[in-house]
């Protein structure tokens, strides 16, 4: 623990990097995931095909491969080179590692968001939408006032669990030149071999500080939703 206290600024930097990657990629993944879910339930065949193919391929690819793919092949395939930026936000210098992490996690987590949202919409009774339509509500009104509020209830707990996994997945960036929590643990324990246990405990607690409130909230919400049914 002593090494962590002595390097509090590095620890804070790692924590901020983990949070930054998790939040930015989380928001983007949510948006992309909802779009993918819309593709998968749309009446337009090609969009469904695209959505299904994307989900099947990306969900079955390990995140590490997504990172390697972005780092090693995008420039050769499509000529996109992720620009080197050195801007600093919240004490985190945005280097290539962090940018890769954001892009990779967005593409990866979106598939899980999509599946959760899709099964949430499918969990709404068909009769609800039929009743709404027969009362003369338009498609938009049916969706916004009847289907989505009911889908939302069953979507939130699994969605929180998806984001807990997403937050932990930011750790993969440690292998690809991003200085986040796991990279900090690694660096500090190489520098302070005597304090390895304390360092790992501290980093573990830092993760738990984010993940446990979320997973407990998901559990409680799940109980509440179960009662409401």
């Amino acid at each position: 623990m002593g090494a962590l206290v002595a390097n509090a600024d590095l620890l804070w930097q790692g924590f901020a990097a983990t949070l930054l990657i998790a939040v930015v990629a989380g928001v983007l993944a949510f948006a992309w995931g909802v779009v993918l879910a819309a593709f998968r339930i749309s009446p337009v065949g090609p969009l469904r095909t695209f959505g299904t193919a994307y989900i099947n391929v990306v969900r079955n690819t390990p995140l590490t491969v997504v990172f390697l793919f972005l780092g090693g092949t995008t420039s050769a395939l499509v000529g996109i080179v992720i620009p080197v930026s050195r801007n600093t936000y919240f004490g985190v210098t945005i280097n290539n590692g962090i940018l890769f992490a954001i892009v990779a996690l967005t593409l990866y987590t979106a598939t899980f968001v999509c599946e959760v949202v899709r099964s949430g919409i499918n969990s709404v009774e068909v009769g609800q939408a039929e009743a709404a339509r027969s009362m003369g509500l338009t498609f938009g009104q049916t969706l916004i006032q009847v289907v989505l509020p009911q889908a939302f209830r069953s979507v939130v707990p699994p969605l929180i669990n998806v984001f807990v996994a997403h937050i932990k997945n930011t750790s993969v960036a440690a292998g690809f030149a991003a200085t986040e929590l796991v990279a900090v643990a690694n660096r500090l324990s190489n520098a302070n071999p005597g304090d390895v246990f304390g360092i790992f405990m501290g980093i573990g607690v830092a993760y738990l500080a984010i993940t446990i409130p979320l997973s407990v909230a998901a559990e409680q919400l799940e109980k509440k939703v179960a009662v409401a049914r």
């Binding site: 339930i41 009446p43 337009v44 065949g45 090609p46 969009l47 469904r48 095909t49 695209f50 099947n56 391929v57 079955n60 690819t61 390990p62 995140l63 590490t64 491969v65 390697l68 793919f69 090693g72 092949t73 050769a76 395939l77 499509v78 000529g79 919409i121 499918n122 009774e125 068909v126 609800q128 939408a129 039929e130 339509r133 498609f139 049916t142 969706l143 289907v147 807990v164 932990k168 750790s171 993969v172 440690a174 292998g175 929590l181 796991v182 643990a185 690694n186 324990s189 190489n190 390895v196 246990f197 790992f200 980093i203 573990g204 993760y207 738990l208 993940t211 446990i212 997973s215 407990v216």
Partner: protein, 302 residues
């Protein structure tokens, strides 16, 4: 229209069918156009040159195509990735069973310990546990990978099994107890086998998760498919990165899809058995299968 019956739409009438057809046409053109554009951009960057030759006729250092594929499929996939999976899965089966016993135990202390274990190790990245094994415990990369996989998946599988037990009708447990079985045998011989059966799809998907997580071994220098991939493109030169990373991706996706397909098939099979048996819940699995995943495997053959 082949669109699945869906909560959001009515059965399409003539107007909607026409509209859907137009959209289908438009988006087909857009999708194919994007694909062509992608392939053309790649082509313009010389992606279809002789770099792919490395997969069937490598031109460097007396390596043959057999050597390349042997390194990827045998030393990488079989003796790296799948070895870690095959070691980790039985360990998880046993430890998850123990954890679920503690989690539903009558003793409050046991329950509290199990609750803590579950929440702590579900909330910590697998990679951190693996690094802990390598750096703090001085374990070999293989053991560290297995440690990381086992600890995390124990917590998750135990939760899956607990959900399965919770989904059983109360009468199952009561009947067991009234027959004079003690709580532990009731759990192991009556509740768990049925929970495994209900949760089989989730358990198989968890194997896919575990398989994907072996690739984290790449970061802690465990010799598996991705390490081999990297060694290969370092050896054959920068331009072959695309070749080898894509090959690795195809291998991972194929293996995982095969496992997912298995899960799907099992799901279909289970619902069919249930329907033909004419009862609401799954029939009891053979009494011998007490361990969590072991019973799952026994079930596949039944």
């Amino acid at each position: 229209m082949s669109a699945p019956k869906h909560v959001l739409f009515d059965v399409p009438g003539p107007k909607a069918i026409l509209r859907d057809k137009i959209y289908t046409g438009v988006f087909s053109v857009v999708m194919v156009g994007l694909l062509v554009l992608l392939v053309y951009t790649a082509y313009a960057r010389g992606i279809f040159d002789d770099r792919w030759q490395v997969l069937w006729d490598p031109q460097r250092g007396g390596q043959t195509a057999a050597d390349v594929w042997h390194s990827m499929l045998v030393r990488g996939l079989l003796l790296g990735t799948l070895k870690a999976v095959v070691i980790a899965v039985p360990i998880v089966a046993v430890t998850a069973t123990i954890l679920v016993i503690a989690r539903v135990s009558a003793k409050r202390l046991m329950r509290a310990i199990a609750y803590l274990f579950t929440h702590i190790f579900r909330g910590i990245p697998v990679l951190l546990t693996m690094y802990f094994g390598v750096i703090a415990l001085n374990l070999s990369p293989l053991v560290s990978v297995v440690l990381g996989l086992a600890v995390y998946n124990t917590a998750v599988v135990a939760e899956i099994l607990r959900a399965g037990i919770a989904a059983l009708p109360k009468g199952q447990r009561e009947a067991g107890l009234s027959l004079g079985l003690r709580p532990l045998p009731v759990l192991l011989r009556i509740e768990l086998p049925q929970a495994v059966r209900i949760m089989l799809p989730a358990l198989v998907s968890q194997i896919v998760v575990l398989l994907k997580d072996t690739s984290l071994g790449f970061i802690i220098a465990y010799y598996e498919l991705l390490t081999v991939t990297k060694n290969n493109y370092n050896y054959f030169g920068e331009v072959t990165t695309v070749v080898f990373v894509l090959t690795a991706a195809v291998i991972y996706v194929s293996v995982n899809m095969a496992v997912s397909r298995l899960a799907h098939w099992l799901e279909g099979r289970l619902s069919r058995t249930r329907a033909s048996a004419g009862v609401g819940e799954a029939p009891v699995a053979p009494p011998g299968s007490v361990t969590a995943l072991g019973a799952g495997y026994a079930g596949t053959g039944a």
